[in-house]
Amino acid sequence: MTLTGSGDTEPQTTLTEDYRKREESITLSSSPAGTGETHELLTLNIGPHHPSTHGVLRLLATLEGEVVRDIKPIVGYVHTGIEKTAEDKAYWKVIPVVERMDYLGYYFNAMAFCGAVETLLGLEVPLRAQYLRVIHLELNRIASHLVWLGTSALDIGAISMFWYCFRERELILDLFEMSSGQRMHTRYFQVGGVMEDIPRGFEEKLRQFLKIMPPRADQYADLFEKNQILLERLRGTGIVDRQTLIELNVTGPLLRAAGDPWDLRKAHPYSSYDKFDFKIPVGTVGDNYDRFRVRHAEIYQSVKIIEQAIDGLPEGEHITPDRKVALPPRHELATSMEALIHHFKLVTEGFRVPPGEAYYPIEGPRGELGCFVRSDGSAKPARVHMRDPSFVNLQALAPMVKDSYIADLIATLAMLDPILGGIDR
């Protein structure tokens, strides 16, 4: 991009003026930091390509020395228009695109979307499918928390944690590969149930994992809890009280760390979550340490849920027998004309959904993940919107880091756990 190409200096000044204007739009809400000779404010740009911003997040920080006086997150660098793309696809083809929004919680995205469509269709999901969904959702929650734990530890300087967390995550991805053939973005959840029943040997492998996971999580705790540097960086930093978080519509582990036991799995159970016995870990003061502890404790609870789900896995269909929505089994195609017609209709046009609107909220690894679907009666959704928790929670970054040191900013951002794929969609 040539700036002086036209020969005159006019464009350059406009560019600078424009920059200054944008710089001025940063409000300094804390008391005037002084413009005298000893105090000066500095605008520091962090990111978008910075390893500790967990993706392409750009932060415009206003510093007074080492202290962050204000911060503005700038997002949109990985905006791919998934919501727009979804409007152009048949309902069942939307699932793989929405899965790519929050790329660590793909099962959750699929669940929210499928749930919204099932609500519009008034479709009953078989119990076995609900249990299989719970197993995969909770495995995904553990995997997501493991990536968070590993990368957050990396930000704070504990490199070995990363390898341990990814070691366990690998076991989960192997399980996903077993049940659906894919390690990530599995497209396992379908409208009306799940794509396939779990294969032989899955249960055994799952139980092995469930046996391994809690002691491994104990090891993580030991690594964290006995590390003085880490504790000093996490304890008492990034504190935001419960009321402020609620006003900012923050949900998930961040809110629970502040002592609010709000979890949609308990408050408004979906997909048979009311049948499982589990606890909601909550924090006390709402600092970074509590955020770490809450997510860490959730790993154990997820293991507990999966154990109950696999023990009580009911017999039956893995997807709704409604042939107008779900594909007929492969073997029927050779013998039944009806099945062949259904298969053809579903694969070419897809199914039609009665006109209406639905908002389906679930508890994702980062908070309330709500999918809004509007149908106009055709085979393609007229609007798909994901209320992604990362997008809303990011607003809490400013109150978390205001008037704290820039070193705490990195730790706070890590404990906030934003996923830019989910923010930008």
Binding site: E83, E247, L248, Y359
Partner: protein, 169 residues
């Protein structure tokens, strides 16, 4: 979710306070929606907040093309004590796509309102920082509108550099 009767009662309460505040109600598959007058949106949300719906779970936009008024702004309100949800819908036309901001009532509405502005072009009056959030600042158009085409985004090469919308000179 409130049932259909409770939704009507809530709508009536609002109409008693201001006869023009609620235009319609919708109840479908257990989802209760109050269609509010866009000029009275703050009063409606304030009333709901007084009734216990204190949490703004989501704020998003919809384009009802070809119906008029085309654009809709949806507020998904949540009562965390009773675990009850109610949605408020305000519809504005594309010619006069303006609605009052609720950021001072719900600070968490800041980013979502910017997203609705970015994607649908609804201007929120009183928003402290009404700029685009996901699309580039110099982008033209509002891509989530139904009449906005998919694709057609020019790929920048040396030969068409001069036509780039993001050019500084």
């Amino acid at each position: 979710m409130p049932d259909a009767t409770e939704l009507e009662l809530t709508a009536q309460e609002l109409r008693d306070a201001d006869s023009e505040s609620v235009l319609d109600t919708e109840f479908y598959r257990g989802r209760a929606v109050l269609v509010a007058n866009p000029t009275k949106i703050r009063a409606v949300l304030e009333h709901l907040r007084g009734k216990g719906y204190t949490f703004l779970a989501s704020l998003h936009g919809v384009d009802y093309y070809p119906d008029e008024p085309r654009l809709g702004v949806l507020y998904e309100m949540l009562d965390r004590t009773r675990v009850d949800r109610i949605a408020v819908k305000a519809r504005v036309s594309t010619d006069h796509a303006r609605i009052e901001s609720v950021v001072d009532m719900f600070p968490g509405a800041n980013f979502p309102e910017r997203e609705v502005y970015d994607m649908f072009g609804v201007v929120f009056d009183g928003h402290p920082d009404m700029r685009r959030i996901l699309m580039p600042e110099d982008y033209e158009g509002h891509p989530q509108r139904r009449d906005f085409p998919v694709g057609g985004e020019p790929v920048l090469f040396t030969y068409n550099e001069e036509q780039s919308y993001g050019k500084y000179v």
